[in-house]
Each structure stands twice: as structure tokens, then as C-alpha cells.
């Protein structure tokens, strides 16, 4: 590339520095009755393995949509219209935006999973919470469950007696057959017959249940055996969120996306959940992408921070730098808007723009006290102005985003 200043985070290349995921020039649009919403407009983001990446921004900034793109699950009427999302595993790269549904589904819930903002809404009200956690296990860790079932059933057959022993031996036969050849035709036939298919599902579900109870205990849920059989509405907000977290962690994901998991919880509960998440991240060794609008939580949880505004990334830096020396006017505004005793409350004038007709050039310029003429005409590119510190602002560099058909 001809430019001297690096314009891409981690531009050194995909294999360096344990990059887990790269988002390159992502563009997402929503086709609604009121018009086309240009929700995400050229986002570049890297996720480093093992880190906690915080994504901050107001409602409507595109934080959630960006993370949905990370599993290629943009809900209709949305669509990814440009850019790529690349996921790295064992040195190989998977371009998520080009994969088919079948393969993507194998990743979702298993290697990339998600924690939701409203736990009550994220849980299906008519199913037991334990079953909902088990669902992911039964989809992604089936072989493991079959293996365990085989072992416990063998034991039962040896030491058991009476009718239980008979059924156990049938179940064992089915399980062994499934382990040997998952595509066995007879097996598939058996699974279609209402009562007989229990020979397959009962043992497997029993193992899944054991695993879920273990998981719930890890979440700090008391009496997990009983909680397994409860329904979402019977649990408090904090408990519900622990269930959601348990579901997300059930298959040892490499990347965990947490979408404002504590926003809807009481402050005391929030503190517990944050502690829990930190501990779990340590134990499971996953990478965490944490979305929030609360700078306090960012300070608590994040290693690096990306600041988003109206579908673009304004600034990326490690957490200390963001707090000590924020560069982008929006980041500064966010920090000044944190209520603190002894200081006058300042808010950022104006409101979040309508993304059907977004502002021209830099999307923040209408609300920016330092806006210049060129901010109205051109979009600033996200550029590394110090090592590890990227900013998209003409105050600090002169690199423009190239529109199609435009020269450098």
C-alpha cells in the first residue's frame, strides 16, 4: 500500500498476534417500509484472542448489528451488503460472510455464542430453563454425550436389575450404534418412530442434564437440580441472566459476545454478574466482546475499547488510553457525560442521526464542536495515529474513506 500511515488495525496480516476475528469494511443495510437504513457503514474491527474488547456507543450506534455480523446472523429485513468477516481457527481462516447456513450453524452456539440484554426475552417462556441450556449441548456436543451415555449405560447394565436393566441394554445398543456410524439408516428410521426414539434421546438427555447441572453450579446458581426444571418466569432477573450465560458457555465457545448483559438488572445484581463473567472468562479461556453504553462497566471489564457512533467506528485503543487521553470528540463527549460529583453535567448536543438519511461525510460532524469544512464532505478513515491507538477524525490525520469510483 502506498500510504505511510497504517490504515488497518493489525494490518500486519492475519496470522500475527492471535487474531481471532477480523471485520473488514462491513456494510449493513436494513430494508424497511420507511426506507433503507444504512446501519453499518464501513466498519473495521479486530478481535484479539483472549482479550476483552469493549464496544461502546449510544443506542442506534450499530454495536449490536456489528456483533450479529460476527456470526453472520443479521435479522431480516437487514442484509450485509459489503465487506467481510473473517474468523481464524487453528491457523486457518473462515470467511463467515461467504459460508453457507449449514456450516455457520455449526459455529453458532459452539464456537461463537451470545449473551443477550434482556434475559427474560431471550428465554422461551414455555420450556424449562434447563432444557434450553441443554439444547445447545445436544446440537453441538452430541458425540460427547453419546460417549458418556455409553459408559454410564454399560455400568447400569452390569450392575442393574429388572426392567431397568432391560431398557438400559436396549438404550446401550442404540447409543453404541450411533457412535459407530452417525449416518446409519436404521438409526435414522428409529428416530422417526415416536416411542422408540426415546431409546436414543433419553440416555443422551440424561447426560446433557448432568452437564447442565454442573454448568449451573458453576454459575453460582443454588440448588441447580431443582432450577433445571423451572420455567423462566419463575426466576429472578439475575438468575435468568445466569441461565443465558450458562447457555452461551455450554459448548466452550472461543468467542463470547455479550450484548449489554447487565443493563436491565439491578445494580447489586449487576456487580455479581460482572464478577461472574470475569471469573468465567478466566476459567473457560474465551475471548469476550462486551457491548455497553456504560463507561463505568467498560472501565471494569475491558482490555481494549472500540467507540462506535452511527454505524461507524470513531476510536479504538486500550482502556487506559481511552480514559486518559481520548482523541475523538465523540469519545471525549462520552467521558464528559459521565455524572461525577463536583463536576457540571455536560451532554453532547443534538441527537443520534436518522440513518435512512445519514449526515454526509463524517457522521458525527453535525454534533461536533470541532467540525471543519472537510468533515462535511469526506469521511475520515480509521487510522493508527499512535501504536495501538486508532482514530477516525480529520483533527488527527488526513486520510479519507475512498468512495467507489473516486481516486486516492
Amino acid at each position: 500500500m502506498a500510504s505511510q500511515v497504517s490504515t488497518n488495525p493489525n494490518e500486519r496480516g492475519p496470522h500475527s498476534q492471535n487474531t481471532l476475528m477480523e471485520v473488514r469494511d462491513l456494510k449493513v443495510r436494513f430494508y424497511t417500509y420507511e426506507g433503507v437504513v444504512k446501519a453499518i457503514d464501513g466498519v473495521d474491527l479486530d478481535v484479539v484472542e483472549g482479550e476483552t474488547l469493549g464496544i461502546v456507543g449510544e443506542t442506534g450506534s450499530g454495536k449490536s448489528v456489528t456483533t450479529y455480523a460476527m456470526m453472520n446472523l443479521i435479522p431480516p429485513p437487514g442484509r450485509i451488503v459489503g465487506g467481510r468477516v473473517i474468523y481464524y481457527r487453528d491457523g486457518r481462516s473462515l470467511v463467515l460472510t461467504e459460508m453457507n447456513e449449514e456450516d455457520l450453524r455449526k459455529l453458532r452456539g459452539a464456537e461463537i455464542s451470545r449473551i443477550f440484554q434482556e434475559p427474560k426475552a431471550a428465554l422461551n417462556p414455555v420450556f424449562k430453563v434447563g432444557d434450553q441450556v441443554a439444547e445447545a449441548i445436544l446440537i453441538h456436543r452430541m458425540e460427547e454425550m453419546l460417549q458418556r451415555a455409553s459408559e454410564s449405560l454399560s455400568e447400569e447394565v452390569e450392575r442393574g436389575s429388572g426392567i431397568r436393566k432391560v431398557i438400559a441394554s436396549w438404550e446401550l445398543a442404540v447409543v453404541r450404534r450411533a457412535l459407530k456410524n452417525p449416518d446409519d439408516i436404521l438409526l435414522k428410521l428409529l428416530l422417526k418412530i415416536p416411542v422408540l426414539r426415546r431409546l436414543y434421546w433419553s440416555p443422551v438427555k440424561r447426560e446433557a442434564r448432568r452437564e447442565v447441572v454442573k454448568l449451573l453450579r458453576l454459575m453460582g446458581i443454588p440448588d441447580p437440580e431443582r432450577v433445571y426444571d423451572m420455567y423462566p418466569h419463575e426466576l429472578s432477573g439475575g438468575m435468568q441472566q445466569r441461565i443465558v450465560i450458562a447457555t452461551a458457555l455450554s459448548c466452550n465457545p472461543r468467542l463470547l459476545i455479550a450484548d449489554e448483559p447487565t443493563t436491565n438488572l439491578d445494580v447489586t445484581v449487576e456487580a455479581q454478574i460482572l464478577e461472574l463473567m470475569k471469573e468465567l472468562k478466566r476459567k473457560f479461556g474465551s475471548t469476550l466482546v462486551y457491548i455497553t453504553h456504560d463507561m463505568g462497566v467498560i472501565a471494569e471489564m475491558a482490555d481494549r475499547v472500540a467507540v462506535m457512533y452511527a454505524g461507524t467506528i470513531c476510536e479504538v485503543a486500550d482502556v487506559y488510553t481511552i480514559f486518559k487521553s481520548p482523541l475523538h470528540p465523540y469519545t471525549r463527549g462520552l467521558l464528559e457525560a459521565i455524572p461525577m460529583p463536583g463536576r457540571e453535567l455536560k451532554d453532547i448536543p443534538g441527537t443520534v442521526p436518522n440513518l435512512i438519511n445519514p449526515p454526509s461525510g463524517c457522521r458525527f460532524h453535525p454534533r461536533c464542536s470541532k467540525a471543519m469544512e472537510k468533515c462535511k464532505q469526506y469521511k475520515p478513515k480509521l487510522v493508527e495515529v499512535e501504536p495501538g491507538h486508532w482514530v477516525a477524525c480529520f483533527l488527527y490525520h488526513d486520510v479519507r474513506v475512498q468512495e467507489e469510483g473516486e481516486g486516492v
Partner: protein, 346 residues
Amino acid sequence: MGGMRTYIIRRLLLIIPTLLGVSLLIFAVSMVFSPEERAALYVTEGSLKAAARIEAIIKKYGLDQPVYVQYFKWLSSVLRGNLGWSKSLNIPVSRAFTELWPASVELAIYAVPLIVLTGIFLGKISAVHRDRLPDHLSRIFAIVGWSLPTFWSAIVLLAVFYGALGIFPPGRLGPEAQSIVHSPGWVEYTGLYTIDAILNRNLFVLVDALRHLFLPVLNLVIVGNAGIMRVMRSSLLEELHKEYVMAARTKGVPEKVVIDKHAMRNALIPVVTLAGIMVANFMTGLVITETVFEFKGLGYWAAHAATQLDFPAVLAFAMFSGIMFVVANLVVDVLYAYLDPRIRLG
């Protein structure tokens, strides 16, 4: 499931006042008539002799006594099975019921499941393929069914399939099958010709009965599934927008399972609550369909009786409909509690 049991008992107790109210309304309407006319309600053999007995009946049942006394006596008489005399058929009302209801039940056995299944199916594909061709077609089908006069669609079906094509005749059975059914060798197990034909191992009667059932059932289904289809559609659309559906997808659940297991389970709940209204609509459809197709069941009798001003018959049928509605709602409430854990535990 202890919560379930108390819930069911509670619901059962609650319908008693409603049933009483139903009987009160019927009673109130019948009070329009003079004591002489009302005495006719209690005459269980029809003849000129009855005229002389009327004075005796008025005395016996206290038809000139205060209203509440009359209501009590009437109610106890009804509960003992004495519903009066149907002059249009010249038999007691209760006998008319027992003789005619198998026909209606037979229609119901085939029509109701079909109505429910087609309604749910059409509603589901409509919601899943929203704003595309299957959706438009289903919605057109639904709104056409909703606007069609039941009696007109019945007539058109009859004109085309019987008048022109001759394949599906009106009535319950053709003349040959009739004679078989009335012959001494035939055992009437249920009164439903299709079931009885199977139990009597008679293929001819079975086919004949099915042929006669086809058009009335078709008519009932065309007119009846619009309501279910619409509720299913809007209900499923609402569920598909909910967060838990998205959550299931992020777990890697296949889309088909997301819809069939997660969304449908929740979406069916409002559909189930429709059952009471569906029963009411079905009874209405029954009256008209049985009349046009000369299918001699309860609906046919009620319509026939109305034109002949056979009040006890119409009254009995109205009460029957009311009770059916209340019972259907009870079943719905129980089913609702089973489907939605929030109801039975909350």
C-alpha cells in the same frame, strides 16, 4: 402437577354460574309465550288429546305461578331429560336429539380436525413466507372464505358436484346403502355410518357414506378455517419477532426447528383460545350446511323446526349450542394451562 388439578376444579366451578345464566336466558325467552303455549312444551305425546291435558299441565307444573317457581320447576324438568315436544317431527325433543345427533357428530369428526389443521397450516406458511406468494394466496383464500355466505357456497358446490358432475350427492346415504343400513343384518354401533360401516365390514356403505360426507365437510372447511388462519398468522408473526427466536438461532438451532419447536409452541396458544368462537361458528355452519345438503342432523332439525315455529325444538338446540360453547371454553382453559406454564404456576 398439583397446580393443574386445583386449576381445573376452579374452572369447573366457574362454569356453573354461566350455565345457569344460559338456562335463565332460554327460560326468559320462553316466558314470552302464554301459559297455554308453554304447556305444550311439557306434552310428550302429540295429539288432540293434548289439548284437554293442557289445563291439567298448567296446574301440575304451576305455569301460572310466580316466575322463580316456574324457573325451578322448568330447570328440574330439563335436568331430568324432559325437553318438551317437537311438533315439526312429532316426537319428544329428547328423542329427536338422540336420533339426530350422530349425523352431526359424524360431520364434526371429519370437519373440525380438517378446519383446525388447514387453518394452522395456511396461517403458518403465510407467516413464514410473509408478503410473498404463499402469503398472498392464503390471505385471499381466507378473506374469500370469510365473506362467502355458507348457504351460497353450499348451493354452488351442490350445483357443480352433484348437478353437473353427479359424484357427490346430498343426504347421508344413497337408496341402496339406506336399505342395507335398515336391514336386520346391520348392527348399529354408533349411528355414524362411516364407523359403523367399518365395524360391519361393509365397504359399499363406507364409500357411499364418504361420498355423501364430502361436500358438507368441504363447505364447512372452506368457511370455517379463515378465523384460525388469521389468528395463526398474526400470532406466529408476532412470535417470530421475539428475542428468544433470535436466541435460538444464535445457539445454532436449524431454522425449521426454530419455527416448529420454539415459535409455534408459543404461537399456538392464542389460536387455542379461539376454540369457543370456532364452536359457535361451527354450529352456525352446521345449521346451514345440513339444511342445504339435506343432511339430517341437529342443524337440519333446528332450521326445519324454526320455519314451523316449533319452539321447543329451537329452544333445545339453542341451549345445546350454549352448553357446547361453555364446555369448549372450559376445555380451552385447561388446554391453555397445559400449554403455557405461566398460567398454571403464576
